[in-house]
Symmetry: C2
Subunit: 158 residues, 2 copies
């Protein structure tokens, strides 16, 4: 069991290194596993795709959902070479795998020049005090959107 | 100026409603604006694409980056119909727009059945106490990845 876990995490490492060597992106890799089988692999692809959301976990989650034909990763585990940033943690919560294993932590990443830790700190500040201000606007008009959704015959819980 | 802001937020609302009516996804819309011009529009597309990361803001950010040929949204503003979830906030920090305007807040969303607020709470808990456990594993081996990156001729700050 521990050997299997090591195998999957080292596969995440391998994918990360391959991504750096091929110029795909930063040194991060992730794999999605279900019942002892790898469903998808992802490496950081921000630089090569001009997509700031293309972190290893997001890439692996998108690919796994495509492969499984579902927006939910039931019974899956994710192995990622580094502690997920808030974006990736959010993606993980929406995909709902069973659990996540990570190797490097957010402070290791910060020491290597990847400041995910900073975003965690920002999210605790009031919107108007953040480096990227988050400002309320036209709230009163937005209730109509939830009403359209609740009245829609196409509404589906997700 | 205020009229222009209203125009952009209402465009985010329009995109959200269009998405619901067409069965694309939940009632959320976003637009990316630069110098008074709409660079991209996005609506929640989780249901139609089986992609749990396809929130309105992520869709709009990815599209804007594609249109601008950059992974950075310099000088851009984002108008979103609802306060971004942690995933979308993370995506926003990586894309680095100037500021974000939102209409409905996280509590309005929770009242309508979209529990982004729950994820914000989870991120404050130690990994092993979360609903989706986040567990450290093989940290000592992961330092090699950052070394590969730092030694790589393809290394690029992002």
């Amino acid at each position: 069991m521990i050997e299997e876990k090591k195998f999957f995490m080292r596969e995440a490492f391998r994918v990360a290194i391959e991504g750096v060597v091929k110029g795909v992106g930063g040194p991060f890799g992730a794999v999605v596993v279900r019942n002892g089988e790898i469903i998808s692999r992802g490496c950081n692809s921000v630089l090569s795709t001009n997509d700031p959301t293309a972190h290893a976990e997001v890439v692996a989650i998108r690919e796994a959902c495509k492969n499984l034909g579902s927006f939910q990763l039931n019974d899956c585990e994710i192995y990622t070479s580094c502690e997920p940033c808030p974006m990736c943690m959010g993606a993980i919560y929406w995909a709902r795998p069973l659990r996540v294993y990570f190797a490097a932590n957010r402070f290791d990443a910060a020491a290597a020049g990847f400041d995910d830790s900073f975003i965690y700190d920002e999210l605790l500040l009031p919107g108007e005090e953040r480096k990227i201000p988050l400002l309320p606007f036209l709230r009163e008009e937005s209730a109509a959107l939830f009403k359209v959704w609740n009245d829609s015959p196409l509404k589906k819980q997700y």
